[in-house]
């Protein structure tokens, strides 16, 4: 199962390498990764989708939090969060299937961003599984070309988003949570 990890990192050379290095050193293949700057130009938000073995999850998040360039790393897998992805797609659409394709696109809330005699370019956003379905359906109409943007996420737990030190008050410590305070 994919874990979604969100990180707030310093916008510095090497920060990305340090984070991905922790994953590659353990032999994990990253499913998707997005990085972009935040409101504060000195910080970036990174979202990683990766399948980590359950026994290594907590440890990995702790190691990410230890990185000097990482302000906060949070595992969103089991906490309330909105996770979305953007897909850009080209569909070959001969005359007879154009209407059907547009109908399906509408159902998935996709937008037509380009239309030619040969077919459409579509833009869709949604959660990852929904987009998988959308892609499957479009494929049934023939050849398609897809670029996925990778997961982006935002936690709905307000305390997870604070910028103050995140380790290891509870969340990381399982049952012994509140007891294992910091400071």
């Amino acid at each position: 199962m994919l874990q979604i990890i969100t990180l707030l990192v310093e916008n510095k050379t090497g920060a990305l390498m340090r984070v991905t290095g922790l994953l590659t050193a353990r032999g994990y293949n990253i499913d998707s990764l997005t990085v972009a700057r935040t409101l504060d130009p000195e910080l970036s938000r990174m979202t990683i989708a990766v399948a980590i073995e359950p026994h290594q999850r907590r440890q990995l998040i702790k190691h990410m939090n230890k990185l000097i360039n990482v302000l906060q790393a949070t595992d969103l897998t089991d906490s309330p969060a909105v996770i979305r992805e953007l897909v850009l797609m080209r569909v070959r659409a001969p005359q007879e299937s154009r209407t059907a394709i547009l109908k399906e696109a509408e159902i998935f809330g996709a937008r037509v961003v380009d239309s030619t005699l040969e077919g459409f370019a579509l833009e869709a956003t949604g959660d990852i599984e929904k987009l998988d379905e959308f892609i499957d359906i479009m494929r049934s109409y023939g050849e398609i070309e897809v670029t996925r943007g990778g997961a982006v996420a935002v936690s709905l737990e307000s305390k997870k988003l604070r910028l103050s030190p995140p380790v290891p008050r509870g969340a990381e410590e399982g049952k012994t949570e509140e007891k294992n305070g910091v400071i």
């Binding site: 990192v9 939090n65 230890k66 000097i68 012994t176 007891k179 294992n180």
Partner: protein, 574 residues
Amino acid sequence: MSQLMSGAKILLECLAREGVDTIFGYPGGVTLPLYDAMYDNPIRHILVRHEQNAAFAAQGYSRSTGKVGVCCATSGPGATNLVTGLVDAMMDSIPVVALTGQVTAKLIGSDAFQEADTFGITRSATKHNYLVKNVNELPQIIHEAFYIAASGRPGPVLVDITKDVFQGNAHYAPVTSIHLPGYKVYTEGHTGQIRRAAQMMLEAERPMIYAGGGIVLSNSSAELRELVELVDAPTVCTLMGLGALSSEHPNFISMPGMHGSYAANMGMYNTDLIIALGVRFDDRVTGRLNAFAPHARIIHVDIDPAEISKIRNADLPIVGDLKRVLPKINEVLRELKPEAGERPGLKAWWKQMREWKSAHPLETSVSDTEIKPQHLMREIDRLTKGKAIVCSDVGQHQMWAAQLIRFNEPRLWINSGGLGSMGFGLPSALGAQVANPDQLVVAICGDGGFQMSIPELATLFNFGLPVKVIVMNNGYLGMVRQWQELFYANRLSQVTLDGFPDPVQLAGAYGFKGRTVEKPSELAEALETAFADPGPYLLNVRVTPTENVFPMVPAGGAINEMVLTPPQPAEARK
């Protein structure tokens, strides 16, 4: 007031402000401007003979003093040669700052002469690393590097500096503040947790204190001793923690783990409360995990949150600096102790402990015909009286030294614990001697590991460093041979070390004294002569070639099922 200075000069100025008095290094093309600035700078540069040894020497300097060790290398091969020493420092949490030269910024990526991606290569070999391409950033980065290396859980930090940064000029003004928004260090420990920990300690009937390198790194030996006495718990010190509690202390049991004593391992198996202080439950300590302290609850104090519950779930975790946390625990212990009831179990526990100790003491056999390795370590112990700095290489000799030499204080026992890097002994002793010119520094090496760092004999001579190099010569890569004997039907594959050089000629060639000892009757006198000599000394001690280290917990074995003595009779060894 700022001042226009070259990057090289700015670097040296920053080092001076960090209190650096010594750099272990080796020059090269891109560090020429730096070495030119060093020419008339008061910071002492120790020219080693290989960059790996610069990193090991910086560690010896740091491990023996607690200060940050500094090493320096040129780009490309110089930087790559440092890597083993950095990973070694990483594994044992030793604060080291490594400075490397890099090709001129605009040449990076062009396969320039002696270009290597040092920043990328050392990413996982360091606690943090930097690439400096702008001279204006240099001062800030140098001070950050020292701060990161020494604070929190210490470790190595590398700063890769392009040649044009050394050459460029900048207006230098002293750095007054450091801003690292992502760097979190938790020092104080949670008050409630500290209280609960103290209560648990006073309730335990069979407590064990498991003290490690964290006590040494945080300089909290005095605080540990107080805790030991308040709880009156038997105490084991790990390979990294030897000396954290004086070996002479009545509560000291010895080292636990693969080659730990019977009493230490039986204690760890049967305890009902492990008080783990600055340790990381290394596999060499725990053996098979489900047989490690199966009846115990765990209190784990460490400054690194990632160590808590990494291997063994902590029933009571405290994240903090031992130097800050231990006094608080001790305070609660002093407060609670008068009210705490008698612990009848504790008396029985100590009785049991003493029985284990006397049932299987550590092997110290002596022979009339050959020098036993244990005999060698016992003699070193007798003559150094727990006061010398002993730097060990990696192998059987390291285990015997750890078992049999006493250390009355922390920072006397220096060895490569986590990485187990052969070649560590001699250069780390070099670094320790530089930092402690008036102290007896002994390097104990195997005949294998010694030959990995032989060139540093020249450095010893060069700087008049009176290190006593003791080669425990068993003619084998002994530790590997032992495993081949025990687990691979004695099919000895590539472990014979023929052709050890004559130490008299070898040391003589470097300009000091050397000697071979073969007879047990000569051993004491030879060691005394070496230790009394004002200069460096190389002692080649021929010991029983096929002696094995016991007790032994085979890899993945249970700590209560130690192999105590060689399989009888030693048919395989004939």
